[in-house]
């Protein structure tokens, strides 16, 4: 990853896009981890989710943010692969399930040991717009090996209306970002998924643009 390119990208593209074209209502900003090792466990509705999280960080810290992203999608063509790896700074992950867990998370462990902040989407996909899909258990296996890693639940809302999966037209909407308390240590993957799900539920209710009728 090229740190300077990432700062320029955040300053000239991400911030004007997220803060002026879209606009954010932010809840719990002080809970955002500024230092790693940490995992931001966010719901996923749009490519804008990552952009919204980038916009919340000071430029001096953006290089710490490493979105964990599907290799099959982001490395599909050379241009996108270059951009994803060098500007966004993704950690590519193999979704096909053929790799063993240790190998699967190898780059994630390296990043955490380096004090980075991983952005993970436990739904595994953007899915249907503005709906939270079933959460996957990857985060549990990731933090089991690195118990000093804080897991911070983050819910974004509205970004799936602004730019949903499969649409090219970006429509401006003010969106919500709600940051929750770090999850307590857990002993099973089921426990982690349950805690995370509960936290998402609460954070979603605190979103200004969320309506019960949306679900």
């Amino acid at each position: 990853m090229n740190r300077l390119l990432k700062i320029i990208f955040v300053l000239l593209i991400v911030r004007p896009l997220v803060l002026i074209i879209l606009g954010l209502n932010i809840k719990g900003r002080e809970k955002l981890p500024l230092e790693g090792p940490a995992v931001i466990a966010a719901n996923h509705n749009s490519h804008l989710d990552t952009m919204a999280l980038f916009s919340l960080y000071p430029l001096s810290k953006v290089h710490k943010l490493r979105p964990v992203a599907a290799a099959d999608y982001f490395l599909a063509n050379p241009l996108m692969a270059w951009f994803s790896l060098n500007v966004i700074g993704i950690i590519p992950i193999n979704r096909s399930g053929t790799n063993r867990k240790e190998l699967l998370f190898d780059d994630c462990y390296k990043a955490l040991d380096n004090g980075d902040i991983l952005i993970l989407f436990p739904e595994g996909t953007r899915g249907e717009p503005e709906k939270i899909s079933k959460l996957k258990k990857g985060i549990y296996y990731l933090v089991k090996e690195r118990p000093n890693t804080a897991v911070i639940p983050v819910v974004t809302y509205g970004l799936g209306r602004a730019l949903p999966r499969g649409e090219a037209l970006l429509v401006p909407f003010t969106c919500d970002v709600a940051i929750g308390d770090a999850l307590p240590p857990v002993s099973t993957s089921g426990e982690l998924v349950e805690l995370l799900g509960n936290s998402y539920g609460q954070l979603l209710k605190s979103c200004l643009t969320y309506h019960e009728s949306d679900q």
Binding site: G23, E130, R161, V171, F173, T174, T209
Partner: protein, 310 residues
């Protein structure tokens, strides 16, 4: 750049003096009563500096810059409105068309094309939004979405663009210019909010519409009305082509319509179970929270003065 007519310049300086005094009072309060929490007040005043600073900067830069400024305000307000109301995923394209109406509407303003300015959103956009929606083909909730989107554009684009149109009206009071009309409208609208609040705090007893806005009382409403009517009569000849009597009625109009703008947006928020419409302006809430009264006073004051003098 910076050729502001004399009376308008004086009015702008007067507003800045008021703001400086408010800031000094706030510093004094924070110094003498460190036990109390004045953070909200500080935020509000800081935001006022931003709002007034930006407004005056763009007004000073000339008509075109000011029109772009108001177009941007419309964009922010429309975005805020359609983000808090429930609309369907299928309405994205129609919402995009509502956004597209902004550059058109403000172009009519800049060109001084009154006929188009006055019918574009009430007629053309009114017909276009359901047209775009019907092409999308989602009929479930169609009526509600068509109504919501058009209403949103009327409130945030059509209404607000009337403030900008004041700038392109011919100069009838050369000492104040179009800026004078804008300052008069914005100042009276804001001062009405403040005086209704202050009179309500001092004497408020009988609630007007407790289900919508429990803080609105007859005493506040009438006190504010009296204050604004008098102040408007005094100020009108300096900033507008109106004489004292016309100014008096203008003040009355702003006071009553400002009240309704305020409670209409309150009703919207109550319907959605939210307190503020957004978090864009620290200490104030969203942009609609700040502009609620202007949505009503803008078009009504415009047509009053247009009928009298243009």
């Amino acid at each position: 750049m910076f050729n502001i007519p004399d009376n308008s310049l004086t009015a702008m300086l007067a507003v800045l003096v008021v703001l400086v005094i408010a800031t000094l009072i706030q510093f004094y309060l924070r110094k003498t009563r460190p036990d109390k929490d004045y953070r909200e007040l500080t935020l509000r005043i800081t935001s006022w500096w931003w709002i007034i600073g930006l407004l005056f900067l763009f007004l000073a830069m000339g008509t075109t810059a000011s029109i772009i400024f108001f177009a941007f305000i419309s964009f922010l307000a429309l975005k805020e409105f359609i983000s808090i109301v429930p609309i369907r995923q299928a309405d994205r394209n129609a919402a995009f068309w509502a956004y597209l109406s902004i550059p058109f509407q403000y172009y009519w303003v800049a060109a001084g094309w009154y006929g188009m300015f006055i019918i574009f959103i009430p007629v053309y956009l009114f017909l276009l939004i359901p047209m775009r929606m019907v092409l999308k083909g989602e009929t479930d909730g169609f009526i509600k979405s068509a109504g919501t989107l058009h209403w949103a554009a009327m409130l945030t684009v059509f209404s607000v663009s009337h403030v900008a149109y004041l700038l392109v009206l011919p100069d009838k009071n050369t000492l104040a210019g179009g800026i004078g009309l804008v300052l008069f409208l914005l100042f009276m609208t804001q001062f009405n909010d403040v005086s209704q609040y202050v009179w309500g705090k001092l004497l408020g007893k009988h609630k007007i519409i407790p289900k919508v806005s429990p803080n609105k009382t007859w005493q506040g409403f009438l006190g504010g009305m009296l204050t604004i009517t008098l102040v408007a009569a005094l100020v009108a000849p300096y900033l507008t082509p109106m004489n004292r009597i016309e100014g008096l009625i203008g003040g009355l109009l702003i006071s009553i319509s400002g009240f309704f703008g305020d409670v209409v947006i309150s009703a919207v928020k109550r319907d959605l179970n939210i307190k503020d419409s957004g978090s864009l302006i620290p200490g104030h809430g969203g942009i609609l929270d700040r502009m609620d009264s202007l949505i009503y006073t803008g078009p009504l004051f415009f047509h009053y003065i247009y009928y009298l003098h243009y």
